[in-house]
Symmetry: C2
Subunit: 505 residues, 2 copies
C-alpha cells in the first residue's frame, strides 16, 4: 500500500501543479477587485503601509518582504475575490511572526494570514490592502513521537508532505482533502478543514493536541502540548481551530496521528434513489464497522460533469446516484471479507443494482479521481457558485432539487456531491461568468432553506469573507454576541483578518 | 454481546449503590469543612441566601427546593471537601435554569452546578455557601437519529442509562468510565471526562456535536447542533467542554454515537518491566489496529491493593506490571484472529511471559473489575491523595517510583495505574487519615516533577477546587490571562462555580 498512497499523493501533487498553472494563467486576466464587486464593504480605520513600514519589515525579515508580482497572493483559488495588498511577509519562525504582529498592532496595520491559499470563501486573501503574512517558509517538522503517534510541526507544512513523512513511520494524518498537495496544516487547523477522513478519525477538534499561536499584540500563546489528555483550564486552542485567523496566527500544531492502514479497498455503487443511498449508508455503518473510512456520494449531474469536463469514464453504467465507499484497515483479508459480506447484502437485497470494487492502485485512483477532481471540473464551466452545507440526512438531497427547480436555465448546471457520512453536501452551480442576477436568485434563498431545516450554511469551508453576513442563519444572536466579545478580547484593534467570519461590529 | 454489556452496566450500578451507601454512612462522620481545611481561601463578596430568596426559588421550582439533609450535596465523593450550602435547587428544564441564574446574577448569589457529584477535585460541591443547582431531574432523552447516530439529551442523564438506551439501536456512547452508574453526561462534558474509550473514539471535544448552556445572566446559548460538521464562526461549545461549570451551566448536549461493537475480548498480560509495557503497546497499535479499544496498565502494588482490599484474585501469576487490552469490533472471528496474531507475537518474542484471554462474560467482568474498582479499593485505606497526570511515555512510570522513594513509610502505599494509550497516569497515595505533613511532602513536588517533563497536572479530572492554584505548572501565564478574560466576559459577577479552575483574580 505504500506505493498506492505515494502514487495518490504524486497524482494530486501533479494535479495541483496543473491547477496552479491554470490559476496563474487565469490571474493574468485579473479578477474583479473585491472592493469593487462588494461596494457595501467599507475599509476599516487602519493605517496605510508606508515606506518606513516596509523598511521595518525588511529589518525583521531580511530578503523576505515581497512588494512585486503579488497577484497570486491577492487572488483566491476560485478566482472570485481579489485584494490589493502591497506587501507580502514571509516569516520563518514564531518569533518573526510575533515581531511583525507587535509592530502592526502598534501601527494599526491590518493583516491577513495566508497558508496554501486554497480556501473557498475568500478568507485567505486581502479584501482591501491588508498585509499578507504567508506561512510558506514555516515548513519544518519539529518532532515525532513514534510510540504515541504525536507529530509537532510548523504551520506552513504542506498536508501531503506531512502524510509522506508519516508514512515512513507507519503512521498517517487524520485529515485528507483534495487540496492536500498545496494546503498548509496551519490553514487546515485555522479553518477546521474536514475532508474525506472525518468519518473515520473525527474532526480536528479531536485530533489537534496542541497549538501555538501569535496573538494580535505579538504575545505568543504556547498551548503546543503533545499530550492526548490535558484538563487544566479552558481549552483555548479549540477557539483557534476554525477561527480563520481572526483571533491569532497559528504558527505550530501538534497532531494525533493514527496508524497507517495496511490495505485500502474502494467500492463504487449505483443507486436508483437518494433514499437507497441512505439505506446503503446505514448498512455500511453496520456491516463495515470499524474499517469504513469514507462514504461519499455524487449525483448523475456530477458524473456528467466529470465525463464532459474531465474526460473521465464511469466504471459502471448510468444511475441517478453513485456511492463511493472506502474501507481501510490492518488486515487485508478481514477487510475484504467484510466488504464482500456488505456487498452481498446490498446487492442481494436489491438496494444496489450495479457496482465495482477496486483493490489495485490504478482503479482506486481512477474512482477517487472522479470524486476528488469535481472541484476542478466545475471551474471549466466558467464561474462557480460554491456551497458547502450540513443538513439532516432526511433533507440532504432536497436542497439540490430545490435549487435546480429555482434556477432552471439561468445556470449551466447544478450538481450535488459530498460526504454523506458527515451530513455534508457540496452544492455547486455554474454559469459562464459571474452574474449578480444568478447570485440574487441563490442567496439568501439557499441559506433560508438550510436554516429552516436546522442545517449549517458552512459545513467545512468556513465563513471567510463571502459568507460572514449569513452567520445568523446557523448561529443564534446570543452566540454571535459572545463571538464578538471574544474577538474584541483577543484583538482589540481588530487588525487580524478583518472583514472575515463575523459581521461588522 | 447485548447481555454482556447489560450485565456490565448492572454490575457497575450495583457497585455504585454500594458506594453511595458507604458514602452516606461515612458522611455521618462529617468531613472537615473546606473553609476550615483551607483557611487561606476567602469567601467572595456574594449575597447571602435570605428567606425571600428561598421564597422566590419556591415560586420558580415549586416543591423542588431542598433546604434539609444537604450533606450529600455538600460533600464530594472522595470525602475530601465539604461546603455549607443551605439550599439545593432541582430544575427540570432549561427555562428553569435560566430563571434561577437570572435571579442569582441580579442578587449576586454564587452557585455551584452539580451532576452526579462523582468529581475527584472538589469541583462539584460548594466551597462556602454557594447555592447547589442539581441536574438530577433533567434526565430526558430528547431525540435520536438512528442513521447518523446522533443523540440529544438533557444534561442530567446518567451515563449508563444513555448507554442502555443506545444499545437498543445498536449504538453506543463514545465515553465510558467507572462512575458511569451515577455520573451525568452534563458533568462529563463540563469536566471533559476521558475514560477508557478515549483511545478508540477520541475526546469529547470531537464527540460533542452541540450543546446548550445557560450563561450567568440567564441567557440561553443554543449551540445544540446535531450536525457532524458546522464551521460557522467560533466553536463556542468547545469552551464549555472542560470549563467545569465556570462559564455557564450545560443543560443539554448532542453526541455523536458510534456503532455498538458486536464482540468484545479482553487480554490480561504480565510484564517484567515498564519498557516492556511500552513495547507491548506499540505492538498492539500495530497489530490490533482498528479493533484496539483499550490499553490499560496497573502495577504490582495496584494488584496487591485489589487482593487485600477487594478480595479479588489475579488470573495470572505475580508480575511487576500488568496490561489490560480490550478489542472490540464488528466481526468476532476477525477480532479473535487479530488478537491471536498479536499474542503469538508478544509471547513468541518473549515480551510477555504469561497472560490470559477472556471472551466470556464472567471472565471479562472479572478482569475489568480489577482495573475499574481500584478507586474504590483505595478508599479502604483511609484517606487517598489522588493524582491524575499526563506524561510523555518515556517518563510515565518514573513519577510513581519518585513518589515511592520520597514518601517511604509516611504513606500506606503508592500505586500507579492508568490509560497508557493516552499517556494518562493515575497516581494514588494512601494514609489512614488526612495529613498535612504528607500533603506538604507531595505538593508542589509532584506538580514540579510533571511540569519539568512537560506533562499535564490534570489529564482528565480537571482542576476543580483542589488543583486550581497549580494551573501554571501546565499552562503559560499568557494562556491563563486569556482564560481570566474569557471568564470575565462570560460571567462578570463571577457567580458561576467560584473558587474553581482559575486562581483568584
Amino acid at each position: 500500500m505504500n506505493s498506492v498512497k505515494r502514487c495518490c499523493i504524486m497524482n494530486r501533487t501533479v494535479l495541483q501543479t496543473i491547477l496552479v498553472r491554470q490559476f496563474q494563467t487565469s490571474t493574468r486576466r485579473l479578477v474583479e477587485l473585491t472592493s469593487v464587486r462588494y461596494p457595501n464593504v467599507k475599509r476599516g480605520q487602519y493605517g496605510i503601509v508606508q515606506n518606513s513600514d516596509i523598511a521595518t519589515f525588511e529589518r525583521l525579515l531580511p530578503g523576505r518582504v515581497l512588494t512585486d508580482s503579488l497577484e497570486g497572493y491577492n487572488t483566491d483559488w476560485l478566482k472570485t475575490c481579489r485584494g490589493a495588498s502591497q506587501v507580502v511577509l514571509r516569516p520563518k519562525s514564531t518569533e518573526e511572526v510575533s515581531g511583525i504582529l507587535k509592530y502592526c498592532n502598534e501601527k494599526k496595520l491590518a493583516v491577513v494570514p495566508q497558508g496554501g491559499n486554497t480556501g473557498l470563501v475568500g478568507g485567505s486573501v486581502p479584501v482591501f490592502d491588508e498585509i499578507v503574512i504567508s506561512t510558506q517558509l514555516m515548513n519544518k517538522i519539529i518532532s515525532l513521537d513514534e510510540i504515541s503517534g504525536t507529530l509537532v510541526c510548523q504551520a506552513g507544512c504542506v498536508l501531503a508532505s506531512i502524510e509522506d513523512y508519516l508514512s515512513n513511520y507507519k503512521l498517517t494524518i487524520p485529515i485528507d482533502l483534495g487540496a492536500k498537495g498545496s494546503c498548509h496544516i496551519g490553514g487546515n487547523v485555522a479553518t477546521n478543514a474536514g475532508g474525506v477522513r472525518l468519518l473515520r478519525y473525527g474532526s480536528l477538534h479531536g485530533n489537534v493536541l496542541g497549538l501555538e499561536a501569535v496573538l494580535a499584540d505579538g504575545e505568543v500563546m504556547d498551548c503546543l502540548s503533545t499530550l492526548r489528555k490535558d484538563n487544566t483550564g479552558y481549552d483555548l486552542k479549540q477557539l483557534f481551530i476554525g477561527s480563520e485567523g481572526t483571533l491569532g496566527i497559528i504558527t505550530a500544531v501538534s497532531l494525533n496521528c493514527p496508524q497507517k492502514p495496511q490495505t485500502v479497498s474502494v467500492a463504487f455503487l449505483g443507486c436508483q434513489s437518494f433514499q437507497t443511498v441512505l439505506d446503503v449508508f446505514k448498512e455500511s455503518r453496520h456491516r463495515l464497522g470499524e474499517v469504513l473510512s469514507a462514504f461519499e456520494f455524487m449525483d448523475s449531474q456530477s458524473m456528467t460533469l466529470v465525463k464532459e469536463n474531465l474526460k473521465l469514464a464511469s466504471p459502471i453504467e448510468d444511475f441517478p446516484y453513485y456511492v463511493l465507499i472506502e474501507t481501510s484497515g490492518s488486515n487485508g483479508s478481514h477487510d475484504e471479507e467484510k466488504l464482500n459480506d456488505f456487498l452481498e447484502h446490498v446487492m442481494g437485497s436489491g438496494l444496489v443494482e450495479d457496482g465495482t470494487v477496486a483493490t489495485e492502485l490504478t482503479k482506486i485512483q481512477h474512482i477517487w479521481s472522479m470524486r476528488e477532481r469535481l472541484a476542478e471540473g466545475l471551474l471549466h464551466d466558467g464561474y462557480c457558485y460554491k456551497y458547502d452545507v450540513s443538513l439532516p440526512l432526511s433533507s440532504f438531497y432536497g436542497l439540490v432539487e430545490a435549487m435546480r427547480e429555482r434556477l432552471g436555465a439561468m445556470v449551466t448546471r447544478v450538481v450535488g456531491y459530498g460526504h454523506v457520512g458527515d451530513g455534508n453536501l457540496h452544492l455547486n452551480l455554474t454559469s459562464p461568468e459571474y452574474s449578480t442576477e444568478v447570485m440574487d436568485k441563490i442567496e439568501p434563498f439557499l441559506y433560508d432553506w438550510v436554516a429552516e431545516r436546522k442545517g449549517s450554511i458552512s459545513a467545512e469551508h468556513g465563513l471567510g469573507f463571502k459568507k460572514r453576513e449569513f452567520i445568523y442563519h446557523s448561529k443564534s444572536k446570543s452566540a454571535v454576541v459572545l463571538m464578538k466579545q471574544i474577538k474584541k478580547t483577543f484583538d482589540p484593534n481588530m487588525i487580524l483578518n478583518p472583514y472575515k467570519v463575523l459581521p461588522d461590529f
